[in-house]
Amino acid sequence: MSSRRSRSRQSGSSRITDEQISDLVSKLQDLLPEARLRSNDRVPSSRVLQETCNYIRSLHREVDDLSERLSELLASSDMSSAQAAIIRSLLM
């Protein structure tokens, strides 16, 4: 293993190396949708972290909107057992 200096000089298993961090950051980058980051370019980790925050916030908004839409549908829809029987026969 190359002798990378770790930021933390603590002993034991708590040493977190720069290499570990940048490895985690690049894995995180791979999760982000392509529109947010061009994954073949070298992107600074601060940018990756920022885009991750933005992405999580947009996912939260999406869950919010979908919850609203689903709650409206559940309130207004009226499922009768006859319809259930039709679907069951389609699936069986």
Binding site: L32, T52, I56, R57, H60, V63, L66, L74, A75, S77
Partner: protein
């Protein structure tokens, strides 16, 4: 990059869907959705979705614990008798386990915003490496949550517009989802055993 294969993704989505249906059904049995205000209704669905997601993820990460209060399980959060079942958990979507580092706090400015959006990210003993792993795990499961919610909405929408042709198309794509939704709304008497049987059968066909 770890590829999320369909064999690992499907169990979480199924677990999430099952939990979601259980919680929604329980909530609507105490107060029907149409009797709730717009705001309460949306909150009920959203919190159900978050609890279902956290319960399905289980104990392999820290963010689910930040969403669920301690000693809350799907079983506990459901008052109805039917709901006292085993919480459906599944393996995490990303393969492998990771050991949490011992409590060395490495605070860096650029991670502060991330700590705020990841549940449990602002815990005092959350070092940067753990935060990044939590964020990765959380993002993956959020994506699955969005995916399932979207498909559930499509099924319910198709059913409520009484468009059987549209329904048939959804069914062909995702029989398991439709089966679960239809049975959930079919009526309480036939729910119990039908739900498990039909759900498991559809899951096997996936």
């Amino acid at each position: 990059m770890e590829v999320i294969s369909s064999s690992t993704k499907a169990p979480f989505e199924q677990a999430f869907l099952k939990n979601l249906l259980l919680i929604l059904q329980d909530r609507s049995s105490s107060t029907p959705f149409h009797a709730m205000s717009l705001h309460d209704r949306k909150l009920a669905v959203k919190s159900s979705a978050d609890i279902a997601m956290a319960a399905a993820r289980g104990g392999g990460a820290r963010w689910p614990k930040a969403i669920l209060p301690p000693a809350t399980t799907v079983a506990n959060s459901c008052k109805a008798q039917r709901c006292r079942r085993i919480i459906v958990r599944s393996k995490r979507l990303c393969g492998g386990n990771y050991k949490r580092k011992s409590s060395m706090v490495v605070v860096r400015r650029r991670t502060m915003a991330l700590r705020k959006v990841v549940p449990g990210g602002d815990a005092i003993d959350m070092d940067e490496a753990s935060l990044l792993r939590e964020a990765m795990d959380y993002v993956v499961h959020l994506q699955a949550q969005v995916d399932v919610l979207r498909r559930v909405s499509e099924v319910v929408q198709a059913q409520s517009t009484s468009d059987l042709r549209c329904m048939a198309m959804v069914v062909i794509r995702d029989p398991g989802f439709v089966a679960s939704i239809m049975l959930c709304k079919a009526g309480e008497e036939s729910m119990d055993q039908d739900f498990d049987w039909f759900f498991d059968r559809s899951v096997r066909e996936l």
